[in-house]
Amino acid sequence: MFSASPGSATLLVELGAILIGLALLGRFAGRIGVPAIPLYLAAGLLVGEGGFLELVTAREFIEPAAQIGVILLLLMLGLEYSGSELLVALRTNSQVGALDVLLNFTPGVIVGALFGWGLNGALLLGGITYVSSSGIIARVLDDLGNTGNRETPVVLSILVTEDLVMAFYLPLMAGLLIGGDPLQISLEIVGAVVAVIAVLFAAVRYGERLSAAMFTRFEDIMLLTLIGVALLVAGAAEHLQASAAVGAFLVGIALSGQAEHKARELLTPLRDLFAAMFFAFFGLQIDPANLPGVLAPAAGLAVVTAATKVATGWWGARRAGVGKAGRLRAGALLTIRGEFSIVIAGIAVAEGLDSKLGALAAAYVLILAIIGPFLARAADPLSRRLAARATEKQRSRRGQ
């Protein structure tokens, strides 16, 4: 029989308090027009190590919950894309994608190297500055009513390419972090990359059959099947050093049609619950005492990589024949960083790399997850003025 021990009572109270706290923050975020993710992270900072209130019991529960949060986050991200969309984006978008890597990965690597965090630390910080937040950007696009704009396909293709690059980057980092002699590392990385490519092609080819096999109209069974398959594949991927997150992402890509539809409906509330815990858990692990020391480099890095993202969006939109106003909107949107940067920073913290790296990543994501959406909102009226001026010029020229 179940009996409530004092420990479990504390766990329930702490967990309940955390969730209510996150809910209140979410409301507040909605009211001031800021995404909830950075606030969840900040909440974790406050109640974590060295924070003004330290959680004891709930932490044991939050840690596995956070792991499930990452898996659900990536599974849902994979659901958004179909395998063929990925292949098309990769084929048509490789130039902008390469520029994106060059401009936005490099600043992080340089700063990481300057701090002396070694090859792994530098590459992780590069990943953090490279990847934009597809989750927050999709929501901002919707809020602004800009999804139909002609620069939007450019923005979305850049995001798809980034997410796809992550599918290779994460196993690569996993291989590097295990260490060992160079030959062993490269063999492991090559193995992981080949596995990802194989699964990707299998997902495109056999996705429909897998989806049909997984689909049932009984929602409870469907939910168990989905989570079971995602956890199993994520676990297997982790075991093969290819990162659990990537495994879940690939499962999401493989699902299509009815199964995909149902999965999105069933998993969204679960994702929201566990992902919130993941963002808070990341904050929990960061000692706020480290923050003041890294604030200046984080802000500098944010300014530089916001500028490089604007440049990426500008160039990509120009190639697609979009006018100046649209190029500005595309660039401003891409400055937003979020969930994926936290996933990468989480790896750095879990691997026990320099504690300053985690703090720098937290400050960096806080800045760009909050300021980025404001930049995107500000770019809208600014671009309208730009466009109005351009038409006026055209008219006066025609008048002469």
Binding site: V88, A138, G145, T147, L156, L159, H261, V322, S383, T391
Partner: protein, 163 residues
């Protein structure tokens, strides 16, 4: 006809847009979720959406019906041009018509005039392809297809008894 441009929006769905003859650009986003967005681009910035309307699957069907009804009549007009001499007309069944409260078959319209009744309009609803047993009521409108002179004869037939 304007050319429709199809663009894939990864993670969102598909966008179709075209330039209207008025110079406005119209578009529709079909989302994976089944939701549709109706878009009107601005004149100043051809890349930006000025107004967008969110349509649920039901809303979209309703709008398609409204627009589709008009295009259906246009299509028929096109068809009429293709088959030379073919006409469509709406003939009233008055109170004084000898065929009010009589089955359609009793008019022998097809035999006498070569005109086919393709629908009956009654109280704002349409009864498509009525059979010979369908009873005509005063106030109905009979939609007929045939040659112009046949339709003329059918009109007289419904108004007065006997040829």
């Amino acid at each position: 006809m304007a050319e429709i441009v199809e663009t894939s929006l990864p993670g969102v769905g598909l966008r179709h847009d075209f330039l209207c003859e008025s110079g406005d650009r119209l578009g529709v986003i079909t989302r994976h979720s089944g939701r549709r967005d109706l878009l009107l681009y601005t004149q100043d910035d051809p890349d930006a959406v000025g107004e967008s309307v969110t349509l649920s699957p039901d809303d979209a069907r309703l709008l398609a019906d409204l627009l589709g009804g008009a295009t259906l009549v246009e299509r028929f007009n096109d068809l009429r041009q293709h088959i030379a001499g073919l006409s469509i007309d709406w003939l009233p069944v008055s109170e004084t018509s000898p065929f009010a409260a009589q089955p359609l078959g009793a008019t022998q319209m097809r035999t006498r005039t070569g005109v086919s009744a393709i629908a009956l309009l009654r109280h704002g609803t349409a009864i498509p392809s009525p059979g010979p047993e369908t009873v005509l009521l005063a106030g109905d409108t009979v939609v007929v297809v045939g040659l112009a002179e046949g339709i003329h004869a059918a009109g007289r037939l419904l108004a007065v008894a006997g040829p």
